[in-house]
Symmetry: C2
Subunit: 152 residues, 2 copies
DNA sequence: TGGTTAATGATAAGCATTATCATTAACCAC
DNA sequence: GTGGTTAATGATAATGCTTATCATTAACCA
């Protein structure tokens, strides 16, 4: 069902990092959690709830390292704080509910192609992009809340 | 050539805000500057250089108010700090040079259409979106620096 | 023109994140 | 396996951007 911790240690090792206990636990959390997108604080709390007292400084450091090692990818979603998700190869963009915070993923090859074309036309060598759509999801509670907000 | 300050005061007034001196100067800065995208700190420094001692707290407050009044729009560009630009009606997205920070604007109706379509298919009512492309611009200095960075 | 009420500015507080540094634990050679 | 080297950790201080507080000041309207 889940990757065992040892595979986990392999992944970390082959990224040129020592397979320390905090790093193993953090990576495992991303592999096992149902909530794909986690902030540093989320990771800290989850591990603590699981009896793992890992310092917040370590969490921040490891998340940054994992991002550089391409084990995780980072996003901002306009919230003022970074969230990370497991990098499973296929690139995708995000659709975020402004009410409940739910995040859906999508991939549109045509949009990707157009982006590349726009960059090329302007002499930019495209390295990465951030595309996030913000709206109100199909949950009736969200639609009700959105409607209430719109009328002050 | 430039809008006179009085028009300026009109815009502020019709947004339901008092036409105070700090607000007039801040809006004028955005209308006159060549650098379209300014952070709170940028605004503070520019006005100071122009002999205008406006408190940083006021700058932050006014930028937020102008954004709510749709006189300005806010962006993040992954930099950890907000930048604002004059809202002149037509929506556009951004192409940002990761080396020199230069920002170009673009608009692609096809991308806009596809975004709308994606949101609809998933039952989202699209409210806004953030699309920023990051790369290396055509400036030879940037390309050289990017190349140097890529090899540590 | 004066009174009311909101705006300002100095400063403190807040929040996410990074830096510092003494202690601890992984790894590699033996 | 064991020990020594070197990097990782964790507590905490520091930073950077932004918002809150509150006494003082200035816009607006009657």
């Amino acid at each position: 069902m889940h990757k065992p911790a040892s595979d986990n240690a392999q992944d970390i090792h082959s990224s040129g990092l020592k397979a320390t206990w905090p790093r193993i636990r953090i990576l495992r959390l991303f592999q096992q959690t149902t909530q794909r997108h986690l902030s540093a604080e989320d990771v800290y709390r989850s591990l603590l709830a699981d009896g793992e007292e890992i310092g917040l400084a370590t969490i921040y450091r490891v998340l940054t390292q994992f991002e550089q090692a391409r084990l995780l990818t980072r996003h901002y979603f306009e919230s003022g704080k970074a969230v990370y998700e497991l990098n499973e190869g296929q690139h995708h963009d995000h659709l975020v509910c402004m009410i409940c915070g739910r995040v859906e993923e999508f991939f549109d090859p045509e949009i990707e192609r157009l982006q590349q074309q726009i960059a090329e036309r302007r002499g930019f060598e495209l390295r990465e992009h951030a595309l996030s759509l913000y709206g109100v999801c199909s949950n009736p509670a969200c639609q009700a809340k959105a409607w209430a907000e719109s009328r002050g």
